[in-house]
């Protein structure tokens, strides 16, 4: 058992596709919230194999895509004007800011380092006591515990040269915002398995009850994705709505309470702007008062007024499921992964990058 190849088994994939085809009668819109799931669906060619009644809508679960442009501008400013060592996950570097990207800032001499883990940023801070080290802490609930851990380590060691630029967002408030948007029609959700690995399932119960829709916590391999879709379609066709957990081998009902506890101690919940979407109430994590010394916006000055953005990028419409990536007039022409107008064409979790790299256009439409 290695937990990857078994869940890519061709025979099981065929079985599940047959089950979905036999079960589905009416057309349904199902949103996979997480960009990792979008890439799984596209990369494995599953979108084209689904019956046409099953319409997958790609959600906003791409942290890089929803990070406000003002934060990218701040990161660029920290690297170029404050001479900090700016550490970031790699996805963030090519995302356009309002003037330049972090990658361009690096070419201009900024000390910008791509890291695998925020804990490496704490190590860099230990090793460079004369330099300020800022970690660009982007992510959803999955990434919040490791990022919180980096702050807790720095706090306990009294490392005064470490801080984070926090752009943390939460899935359930975004699902609520999507359901409340009258232009978006979603019948059921695949909830993001790795988010629930941390938080557990309880936050999704009120959404199921309020909107009377199925939510199935789902993994990322082809078998996981198709089983999750089958579970949602089965509920929809029988007029039921429940919270179910397809990804039981990883997601426990209570999640990881140690991780949740640390996140709730290091961060507090506030309203947050999502790039392309707008402000969503109580959808962001910000450093709590006790940890304010580690907040880069307090240390180096606040974000500028909302930065100007007029690139022609329709990321908000893509992330709310109003258009498919290839329906954007700039797709593949004015906007490519090499010269992106917006973040969804850059990130490994962005829907536009998935379509560009794997299908170029959705053959169904």
């Amino acid at each position: 058992m290695k937990y990857l190849s078994e869940f890519r088994d061709e025979e099981i994939v065929r079985t599940l596709l047959g089950k979905i085809r036999k079960c589905v009668m009416k057309p349904w819109n199902i949103m996979e919230v997480c960009g990792g799931q979008t890439h799984g669906l596209v990369r494995h060619g599953l979108l084209q194999m689904l019956p046409e009644q099953v319409r997958m809508i790609h959600g906003p679960g791409c942290p890089v895509c929803v990070t406000p442009i003002s934060l990218i501008d701040k990161a660029v400013e920290l690297a170029l004007e404050h001479n900090v060592i700016l550490c970031s996950y790699g996805d963030m570097l090519r995302v356009p800011g309002s003037t330049i990207s972090l990658q361009q800032a690096r070419a201009m001499g900024g000390d910008i380092r791509i890291l695998y883990s925020p804990l490496e940023a704490v190590s860099i801070a230990r090793q460079n006591p004369e330099r300020e080290v800022v970690f660009f802490a982007v992510g959803f609930e999955t990434t919040a515990p490791p990022n919180a851990l980096s702050v807790e380590q720095a706090y306990r060691e009294k490392l005064s040269n470490y801080s984070i630029l926090s752009s943390h967002v939460l899935v359930p408030p975004a699902m609520e915002a999507i359901m409340s948007d009258s232009e978006t029609k979603v019948d059921g959700f695949l909830a993001a398995g790795h988010v629930c690995t941390v938080t557990g399932l309880s936050e999704y119960v009120p959404l199921v009850e309020k909107w009377k829709m199925p939510i199935v916590v789902t993994g990322f391999e082809p078998v996981d994705l198709l089983e999750g879709i089958y579970m949602v379609v089965s509920q929809l066709e029988s007029g039921e709505y429940r919270l179910e957990n397809q990804y039981r081998r990883v997601v426990k009902i209570d999640g990881n309470q140690r991780a949740v506890h640390l996140v709730n101690s290091v961060f507090e919940y506030r309203d947050r702007e999502w790039r392309g979407i707008g402000e969503i109430p109580m959808s962001g994590l910000f450093l709590a008062q006790k940890y304010s010394d580690y907040d880069a916006t307090l240390k180096f000055g606040p974000l500028k007024e909302r930065s100007y953005e007029d690139s022609g990028c329709l990321s908000g419409d893509v992330m709310k499921g109003k258009i498919k990536p290839h329906e954007c007039p700039n797709f593949g022409d004015g906007c490519t992964p090499v010269n992106p107008l917006g973040a969804p064409m850059v990130s490994n979790e962005g829907a536009c990058a998935a379509y560009y790299n794997y299908v170029a256009q959705d053959s169904k439409e």
């Binding site: 290695k2 883990s117 515990p145 790795h194 078998v223 039981r248 990881n256 991780a259």
Partner: protein
């Protein structure tokens, strides 16, 4: 960003530091250092889900086998009781 992959625990240290419990995990032979402070009960040879250098969950073999067994049986049952395939409707 939420990419997290399963790997096998090959080494674990025991420390009193609540923010740092170092260990090593093999991802198909590639060994990486992983912090286990959120998974105090993890043991060598367990499979764990790792995200940006931090172990977040133990992968439960029984649940995985159960899921696979159920799905394989579902396929075998379908072969025994072929229903009309509505593909192309």
């Amino acid at each position: 960003m939420c990419l997290a992959i399963p790997g096998k625990v090959v080494e674990l240290q025991h420390t009193d530091d609540q923010t740092n419990r170092p260990g090593k995990v093999s991802f198909g032979g590639i060994i990486r250092e992983v912090n286990f402070c959120f998974l105090p009960k993890a043991a060598v040879d367990d499979y764990v889900l790792v995200h940006v250098g931090v172990a977040l969950s133990k992968v439960e073999e029984l649940e995985a086998l159960e899921t696979l067994r159920y799905l394989k049986e579902m396929g075998e049952l379908d072969e025994l009781n072929p229903e009309p395939d509505r593909q192309g409707d």
